[in-house]
């Protein structure tokens, strides 16, 4: 049985179900309890689970991230919410230096089953301190996993997988998608394994690979290009680490063209990584070098038009596809 719910409620359901299922799971972060979450993602959870399991924190990201890691080392399964991934930067040491390396440094003794989750990416004129897309920066670190849903159903299935995962998972949501509605299955075992990309639109002329919110821009572009007789196949990666390379290369072998859309900066980015992998594995299949669409290589500006100019959008994607398919 499935019904239509909002992205934020899909996240809430995933956490709630997993907390019912496993008493080791708890939720901690700023305003998650009494305020129901700064973005109302944890609505009702305090009431259901009480203040021992849904815990408000002071503005101490470094402290409560590290606390979560310690608890995970002792066998609990924390969900640590960042109001925004932009604020995770003050917790860089625990989340990058402790969580992903604990298992390795302890020679396999101490795992770190923890989920860090929150809003990632531009929220709309928030300026450069609050508009971080952390995926490229953080995905560079071995030992962590990274999931980034674009649809409510994936939000639920991926988050449940994240909570059950024995390794640290960085779970990237988008404030701009929280009100998005979609069909979500009621099955409490709705688990979407990491490393399985989804193909929300099939096509024959060009493969569009993306992650998170820009998947929607790709779908928009694909729709527009269909009117110009260019058929795009859109791949929603769903997780970045692990990356579902076979689904991507299979598609590129069919379309012979590839555009990667990634909302972080272009230098040493997810888009660079995908482009390099596709170039290595599909060199003979490509009619044109892989084209990348990223945010411009500048800090995020506040002014509306400038921010729009900086971010990836359907127009830029259409142009990239025309280039990759020699249709311009």
């Amino acid at each position: 049985m499935s019904r239509v719910i909002e992205f934020r409620d899909a996240l809430c359901e995933a956490m709630t179900e997993e907390m019912v299922r496993d008493e080791r799971v708890f939720l901690m972060g700023e305003e998650v309890a009494e305020y129901d979450g700064a973005y109302k993602v944890s609505r009702g959870m305090l009431e259901q689970f009480g203040s021992r399991r849904v815990i408000d924190t002071p503005i101490s990201e470094s402290g409560f991230s590290g606390l979560g890691i310690g608890a995970a080392m002792h066998g609990l399964r924390p969900i640590i919410e960042f109001m925004s991934w932009s604020f995770s930067l003050v917790a860089a040491d625990p989340i990058l230096n402790n969580a992903p390396k604990m298992l390795y440094m302890s020679g396999g003794q101490f795992g770190c089953p923890i989920v860090f989750r929150g809003n990632d990416g531009a929220g709309g004129q928030l300026g450069s301190t609050h508009s971080w897309c952390v995926e490229s920066l953080y995905a560079n670190v071995p030992g962590l996993k990274m999931a980034i849903p674009a649809f409510p159903s994936d939000a639920k299935g991926l988050l449940k997988t994240a909570i059950r995962d024995d390794d640290p998972v960085f779970f990237l949501e988008s404030e701009r998608l929280l009100a998005l509605k979609g069909e979500v299955d009621e099955d409490p075992e709705l688990l979407i394994p990491f490393g399985t990309a989804n193909i929300p639109r099939e096509g024959t002329d060009c493969t569009l690979v993306s992650f998170g919110r820009p998947v929607h821009f790709c779908l928009e572009a694909a729709e527009e290009l269909a009117g110009q007789n260019i058929s795009c196949e859109v791949i929603d990666g769903r997780s970045i680490r692990p990356l579902d390379v076979p689904t991507i290369t299979r598609s590129v072998r069919k379309t012979n063209a590839c555009v990667v859309v990634d909302q972080s900066w272009p230098f040493a980015s997810i888009a660079s990584e995908v482009a390099a992998t596709v170039s290595e594995q599909c060199f003979d299949d490509l009619d044109h070098p892989v084209v990348r669409v990223n945010s411009d290589d500048v800090p995020a500006p506040y002014a509306f038009d400038l921010e729009q100019e900086m971010l990836p959008n359907a127009r830029k994607i259409c142009q990239a596809v025309r280039t990759a398919t020699y249709s311009s």
Binding site: A33, S51, E61, L89, Q125, P301, Y302
Partner: protein, 377 residues
């Protein structure tokens, strides 16, 4: 399964109220100050209030975007503290920064145009509400990440001391004001900054604008010894004071000697500045975490009403003059909005400007905003 604790807002008003200046004390203070000075403070506070009221309207009309934090209720803090320093002393604050920018001397038109996202804004529309800067007025920013400005405040004090002593071979003679919220007390960076300031004898005053809440979290729910935060200065060997931040006269009376003491001794200080934000945390906050009674109680302590009443009682102000000032500041803010609307949005060329000083690759160097003459440098 555990049941949640009480969801009721605190019965005690937070923060605990500070001893207020009595009627006679206020009269004596007023008598000790030049009339122009007090008039100026009143006007400044009214200007900030009017500016913020119009900012809220513009936000609701979608002329302003992003996150926007309103200073209404806290005007006496920026005005009274900044009155106690010189124009050469550095000032740095967090994201609730419009009041400090104006009190520091920024023309409201540059502040408003910044929020309108126009090229005429103090940061050419690149920073927005949370990131105001004014180099000419030694205002080193609005900073969006909670606590981020506190190490910077130590650095500003380090720089003035270094310049004074090492380069100019004089006594250290500047004081930095670094503002932070009560919620910021729980960021690690703030503690590192306090320790450094104490250790290196840095003349910086950390002014905690203690409005009792960080977003929906009352200080008692988020901070240990929240009823006595000056103990968090004791821990670092830093002197401290508790000040009634809802009364500009008390703010100035207590800040002035503290500033001079820090200047003389080249040492840091810490202030628990008791205040209250009359509006929500940001523009989208239903304020369910506090009672209407509590809000009403603090509104009785409105810093503008308090000063104007005291001035009227002491024959320093007439109702007529008060209304006249109101008219003047409304006109000034109206002009600022008009100017902002007339200013253009930044052109595409601004995207790659100011990323680096040097021109290279796609980057086109840097230039100053119109506020500072707009020169290419």
């Amino acid at each position: 399964m555990q049941q949640s604790g009480s969801m009721q807002p605190e019965a005690e008003p937070t923060p605990p109220q500070v001893q207020q200046a009595g009627r006679d004390e206020t009269s004596a203070l007023l008598a000790s100050l030049p009339m122009d000075t007090v008039n100026h403070w009143l006007r400044e506070m009214m200007l900030i209030r009017e500016f913020e009221v119009r900012t809220m309207q513009a936000y609701q009309d979608k002329k302003i975007g992003g996150f926007c934090h309103i200073y209404i209720g806290q005007e006496a803090v920026a005005v009274g503290t900044i009155a106690a320093i010189t124009p050469e002393d550095p000032v740095v604050t967090a994201y609730r920064d419009h009041g400090h920018a104006l009190a520091r001397g920024m023309d409201p038109k540059y502040c408003m145009a910044e929020m309108y996202g126009r090229i005429g804004g103090c940061a050419k529309g690149k920073g927005g509400s949370m990131h105001m800067f004014d180099k000419a007025n030694n205002f080193f920013g609005g900073h969006g990440i909670v606590g981020a400005q506190c190490p910077l405040g130590a650095g500003l004090a380090f720089a003035t001391k270094y310049r004074d002593e090492v380069i100019n071979k004089e006594r250290s003679k500047h004081v930095t004001l670094c503002f932070l919220g009560d919620g910021a007390l729980n960021q690690g960076a703030v503690h590192e900054a306090k320790n450094l300031a104490g250790l290196l004898d840095l003349p910086v005053i950390y002014i905690v604008e203690n409005n009792g809440y960080s977003m929906g979290t009352a200080i008692s729910r988020g901070t240990t010894v929240g009823h006595e935060i000056t103990r968090k200065a004791d821990a670092y060997g830093i002197e401290s004071a508790v000040i009634d931040g809802l009364d500009v006269l008390s703010v100035y009376r207590d800040m002035k000697p503290l500033v001079e003491h820090c200047r003389q001794t080249s040492r840091p200080a810490f202030v628990d500045m008791r205040t209250y934000r009359f509006k929500g945390h940001s523009m989208s906050d239903p304020r369910k975490y506090r009672t209407k009674d509590e809000e009403a109680q603090y509104e009785l302590l409105d810093p503008i009403a308090r000063l104007s009443k005291a001035m009227i009682n002491n024959q320093m102000l007439t109702d007529e003059r008060f209304k006249q000032i109101g008219k003047e500041v409304r006109q000034e803010v109206r002009e600022a909005i008009k100017w902002s609307v007339a200013s253009k949005p930044p052109g595409k060329d601004e995207l790659y400007k100011d990323v680096y000083v040097e021109k290279w690759g796609p980057y086109t160097g840097t230039s100053l905003p119109e506020m500072l003459g707009g020169d290419e440098s």
